[in-house]
Symmetry: D4
Subunit: 77 residues, 8 copies
Amino acid sequence: MTKVYLLLRTENSKLGIVKAQLSKFEEIKELDEVFGRYDLIAKIETENSPAIKRFIQNKIRVQEGIKSIETVFAAEE
Amino acid sequence: MTKVYLLLRTENSKLGIVKAQLSKFEEIKELDEVFGRYDLIAKIETENSPAIKRFIQNKIRVQEGIKSIETVFAAEE
Amino acid sequence: MTKVYLLLRTENSKLGIVKAQLSKFEEIKELDEVFGRYDLIAKIETENSPAIKRFIQNKIRVQEGIKSIETVFAAEE
Amino acid sequence: MTKVYLLLRTENSKLGIVKAQLSKFEEIKELDEVFGRYDLIAKIETENSPAIKRFIQNKIRVQEGIKSIETVFAAEE
Amino acid sequence: MTKVYLLLRTENSKLGIVKAQLSKFEEIKELDEVFGRYDLIAKIETENSPAIKRFIQNKIRVQEGIKSIETVFAAEE
Amino acid sequence: MTKVYLLLRTENSKLGIVKAQLSKFEEIKELDEVFGRYDLIAKIETENSPAIKRFIQNKIRVQEGIKSIETVFAAEE
Amino acid sequence: MTKVYLLLRTENSKLGIVKAQLSKFEEIKELDEVFGRYDLIAKIETENSPAIKRFIQNKIRVQEGIKSIETVFAAEE
Amino acid sequence: MTKVYLLLRTENSKLGIVKAQLSKFEEIKELDEVFGRYDLIAKIETENSPAIKRFIQNKIRVQEGIKSIETVFAAEE
């Protein structure tokens, strides 16, 4: 199992839509609207590292309304 | 009482409009156009922490012309 | 309940010690060594917002070996 | 009158000492321990811009325990 | 005399236009297209601090094509 | 020979197009879609420093879909 | 094969020592002293993602003189 | 001729010493103590790009009291 944290910033008016879209993915195990320097934190778990990269490429990088994605990989696999 | 500082960047041409909109909220006790890495600093005070989060969600994150919001929570409550 | 994510950087040689110390706190529900811009991500949950601030002040800000603490508050309480 | 916000990071174990030292200066009108990306926010007001720069040079930049100082100038004078 | 450095990022395709516009202001004593984390560095000198703030408000913050402005004040006046 | 690393962020939906465009330039010796704080890392090699600056000005800064360019120069020439 | 870029900052006086140490590892395929926001960029290639994480934990995070490590994972495996 | 801007942060108590040291180099054409996110800005001019890199390596990276160096290269040569 591989775990990744996504630290996301969204366009101001699109936060609700992005959150609703992300909440549909079963790979996202935890999803929080947050206050600080980011707007959303998503915790993703998949079987291995290639799967998690494909998920970000195919499901996150195509979402409208996301301004920046910072990916943080957990050490344990 | 809970206090929060918002460090805001706005779209270059929208600074005046955003400032005018924010100045209407009584929860914002101090509002400065600034020079440095940010464009506006707003000091917000509400009764407690849930109220301040709702205020940011319902009044700040819906404003057009804001590019990024960095929220800083004061320690004392 | 209040949830906070701590994004931590540690001194290079102190990462193991800091991780071992933090793993003892029951307020920290999840703790990952990470790769990206941070060294550790900790998820904290306490009863309310004042309790979480006291925890950071009394248990995290006194730890040796931590270089920077970035606190991110989840929206829901 | 000139107003400046200082966004400060301190060494983890020195936050209390720095806060106590800063709280003695009458030029600092508001001082908060904060959670987010910074550790302290100080609001400074002096008669004019040269005075505020001298205050930072002579009173803040000599304090031990401060790791970084980010200065933000308010627009109005 | 007051001196300020502006560290600017522009929209990718607007760099030439922004540079051409800024080069017309006599308050801008030096203007460089740069490589690093910024796109342009401008050195501004005016009579005093209020004048430099007004110049940024009235001449820089109205320019189209500028994505972010970071203002750095020189110490000497 | 001069070597430069470009750390690029792209608009979320334009990553594929930008990557395809950049992969056509022979000056770009290595090009990776990446996860972290950036979206693409490109390694550029040209004959000397002026040539590499002209390449960034004429070939990279005109590309649509690039949000930010951070240029890092290798020491050896 | 997994590829990672490390963006490193070192203590000012330790750059030479860190560079010499890192140049001994066969997992580091390319190592440049750089100018920009970082001091060194290292390109690492190992067989798979768990191996690259272990390498960073066991060989990089124990090096003295490194102030911060930013890890960027290439997409392809 | 090649021009570079150095954006420097120094240890809080070492700013004066670093400034005094840097002011002795004839390659540094302008040197300002600044307020914002940095502590010093130095403008360097040398004959060409390799010379400017050697100057930073041999004269700046050996200075005590400098915490971080961000190098920004001007476009024109």
